[in-house]
């Protein structure tokens, strides 16, 4: 248990007060409208949603999870942590742009724009209910992680930490909605990043610095832990190359699509709150780049923790390693600052999911299905009531169902794996219709449980490695949703043309594009200008709307930049010369990516802002059932 000095208490109380005051300060802005309460009126510069992406995905359970992984897997465990968010490398260039142009409040509302008629409504209803549950569950899960930290720090029962700190956070979310979330996320992001650097550096220093960590591991005969690519064969062992390749494909190709991972739902709100398409792209890219740098710091701190305490009894004990480094090695007075950091990473995740869950409950459930003619003030109040409902629901899930939460989070990720392909196809293939997409979700419910648990339990299938399960689920689901798609009617062409003109999706949209051109909604031939060379840097809005080699090159460089930053950043912290060179290469490639894509994004954004109000009006009419498509 911790003994806190008055200075420590000052940090904790001052920080909590600062967050609540922020909420009160933005109360007036948030109460103006639904768009303010949930999207800050789509007016944020890129760095605000970027800091929110970083802060939201820095939760109390994240250092636990990363420390547990590195403790058991060594440095190669970094791929578990970093490849997962890497889908944002491609998404920032491709799907973020498409989603921002849709002006959909949520992924559920997107269903009404991408698909039409009864099928789209069933998908919207399904996704609404599922997303409300998902957010409530994440709140309970992250809240329980806070409960465990409070038990370690103060000896409290788990439920106390869950209820107390989630409730404090709810005060400013209730008052200021997304305005409060994003403004406090910025502060929390800055505090969390500074403290992660400080605490991790302290942990590495306690283990003798970068050289000391390497020497200790070598003396222990554990040098393999320093190898990020310590594979156990192509298909054998616990870290096969086939697994790594599967992760690469999942992460990077997934960025072309939408909702291929559960993180998408939170990112979608941040993308939509950015003031332009360009701001949305940079918000996603920069927020995730910060996550990767954070992971590098945590990974080396976790490795230092292993070098200090190599014989922890269980993974659960090891998971608290980063917190132990902070509580045991920081000097008196700084421990309170460290605890304020824990509050920062806790509040940022709790506030985001409270507001996101309330968004689905208000926009898609209440406004679309219960009271389509609701006024703005009513919607803001429903947003607040939903926020409170989610908070109470999270207490229920966190305290009464603790024994199943571990398996539930696991089940939810599994569901994301099963719908990976249709989530990409909904963006890139015009012919995928609502019935096919709905069939994919429904089939996935059964298939995932059959392949992973039921059939192996009855000896019909052997217990397959996880990456093979992924490919098998992909094929089995495709055998269901592809025939259903092709045997049912395509979506109504009018609806598809409106969707295409508004969002300009990438991929196979030939028939829809030709129809839009025939109707005079798009120029038949995009004006061809002489470029100054292989890469074009001057764009007309019409030319910038088309997908060109600059987009593909930027996406490729973005992914490569991320990979080099991950490897280079981590090795640099171990004072490796190769690490410095790799990190410099990653930063240079990212700068080149910016040089290529920025002129195009500027041209797209300038043009789109002129059209946006018309699109917003149409989306509003669809949600209020005033327009039937």
């Amino acid at each position: 248990m911790l003994t806190l000095t008055p200075l420590d208490w000052f940090w904790i109380l001052a920080y909590s007060l600062l967050m609540i005051l922020c909420g009160v300060a933005f109360y007036r802005l948030a109460k103006r409208s639904e768009a303010d309460f949930f999207l800050a009126r789509r007016g944020l510069p890129w760095w605000l949603p970027a800091s929110s992406v970083f802060a939201t995905h820095t939760a109390t359970d994240t250092p636990m999870w990363i420390t547990g992984t590195i403790y058991t897997q060594g440095l190669r465990g970094i791929w578990y942590a970093t490849l997962f968010p890497s889908w944002c490398a491609i998404s920032a260039i491709i799907s973020a742009r498409i989603f921002r142009r849709s002006v959909a409040y949520s992924q559920a509302e997107w269903q009404s724009l991408r698909f039409g008629e009864l099928g789209s409504e069933l998908m919207r209803g399904w996704m609404t209910g599922w997303a409300i549950f998902l957010n409530m569950f994440i709140l309970g899960w992250v809240g329980m992680a806070m409960g465990k930290v409070c038990r370690l720090a103060f000896g409290w029962p788990d439920g106390w930490g869950l209820v107390l700190f989630s409730s404090v956070c709810a005060i400013y979310v209730l008052a200021a909605g997304y305005w409060g979330v994003v403004i406090t996320d910025f502060q929390q992001g800055v505090i969390a990043f500074a403290s992660i650097v400080l605490t991790s550096a302290w942990g590495i220093a306690a283990a003798g610095g970068p050289a000391g960590v390497v020497t200790r591991l070598q003396e222990m005969g554990e040098s393999w832990r320093l190898d990020m690519f310590h594979f156990t064969g192509w298909f054998t062992g616990d870290f096969p190359i086939a697994w790594f390749v599967t992760m690469l494909i999942f992460a990077f190709l997934g960025g072309v699509g939408m909702a291929t991972t559960i993180d998408w739902y939170a990112e979608a709100q941040r993308i939509q709150s950015a003031r332009t398409v360009r701001d949305a792209s940079y918000a996603l890219w920069a927020g995730t780049a910060l996550i990767l740098i954070r992971d590098s710091l945590w990974v080396i701190a976790a490795l230092s923790f292993y070098a200090l305490y190599p014989r922890m009894g269980t993974v659960s004990e090891a998971e608290l390693g980063w917190f132990r480094v902070g509580f045991e090695f920081l000097p008196a007075g700084m421990v309170g600052f460290f605890f304020a950091t824990i509050l920062a990473i806790h509040f940022s995740t709790i506030s985001s999911h409270l507001n996101l869950g309330a968004l689905y409950a208000t926009r898609d459930l209440y406004q679309h299905y219960i009271n389509p003619s609701a006024k703005e003030q009513q919607l803001v109040w429903v947003g607040r009531i939903s926020t409170l409902g989610l908070l109470l629901g999270s207490f229920l899930l966190g305290t009464m169902m603790e024994e199943i939460t571990r398996w539930l989070i696991f089940a939810l990720w599994l569901m994301a794996a099963g719908v990976w392909l249709p989530n990409i196809l909904q963006v890139v293939w015009w012919r995928l219709n609502a019935w096919g997409y709905l069939a994919a979700w429904m089939a996935n419910l059964g298939m995932s449980w059959l392949v992973v648990w039921v059939l192996p339990a009855y000896g019909v299938l052997p217990m397959l490695p996880d990456y093979i399960q992924f490919w098998l689920l992909l094929v089995l689901n495709a055998m269901v949703f592809l025939p259903i798609t092709l045997l049912t009617k395509p979506e109504n062409m009018d609806h598809l043309v409106k969707f295409y003109v508004m969002t300009r999706p990438v991929g196979w949209w030939g028939p829809v594009r030709r129809e839009a051109e025939r109707r005079g909604l798009l120029p038949a031939v995009v004006e061809q200008e002489k470029t100054e060379g292989f890469l074009r840097r001057r764009w007309t809005p019409e030319a910038a709307d088309a997908w060109t080699r600059e987009d593909w090159l930027a996406a490729l460089l973005s992914a490569l930049g991320y990979l080099l930053i991950i490897v280079g950043g981590t090795l640099s912290l171990l004072a490796s010369k190769i690490g410095y060179v790799t990190l410099a290469a990653g930063l240079a490639i990212s700068a080149f990516m910016y040089w290529i894509i920025d002129p195009k994004l500027r041209a797209i954004s300038a043009e789109y802002e002129r059209k946006q109000s018309r699109y917003l009006e149409r989306v509003e009419r669809l949600t209020r059932w005033e327009q039937s498509e």
Binding site: Y80, G125, T246, M401, W407, F410, W413, E626, S628
Partner: protein, 60 residues
């Protein structure tokens, strides 16, 4: 693909069957409730027989 990492970390075979059933029911139940609500709303505005229900004007 955090779910794969979860498999590796927690060990797939140790999942108690009753926890799985509860997890499955809870995670899908709200989705089906939402879908039912969507169907009822759609049918209210697009009846199988007869003209579609009159659309309400948006309040000022």
């Amino acid at each position: 693909m955090r779910w794969i990492a979860m498999c590796a970390l927690f060990g797939l075979q140790q999942v108690p069957p009753q926890a799985l059933v509860r997890a499955m029911v809870i995670s899908y139940a709200l989705g089906f409730v939402g879908m039912l609500l969507a169907y009822l709303n759609y049918r209210k505005r697009h009846p199988r027989k007869g003209p579609p229900a009159q659309k309400k004007e948006r309040p000022e």
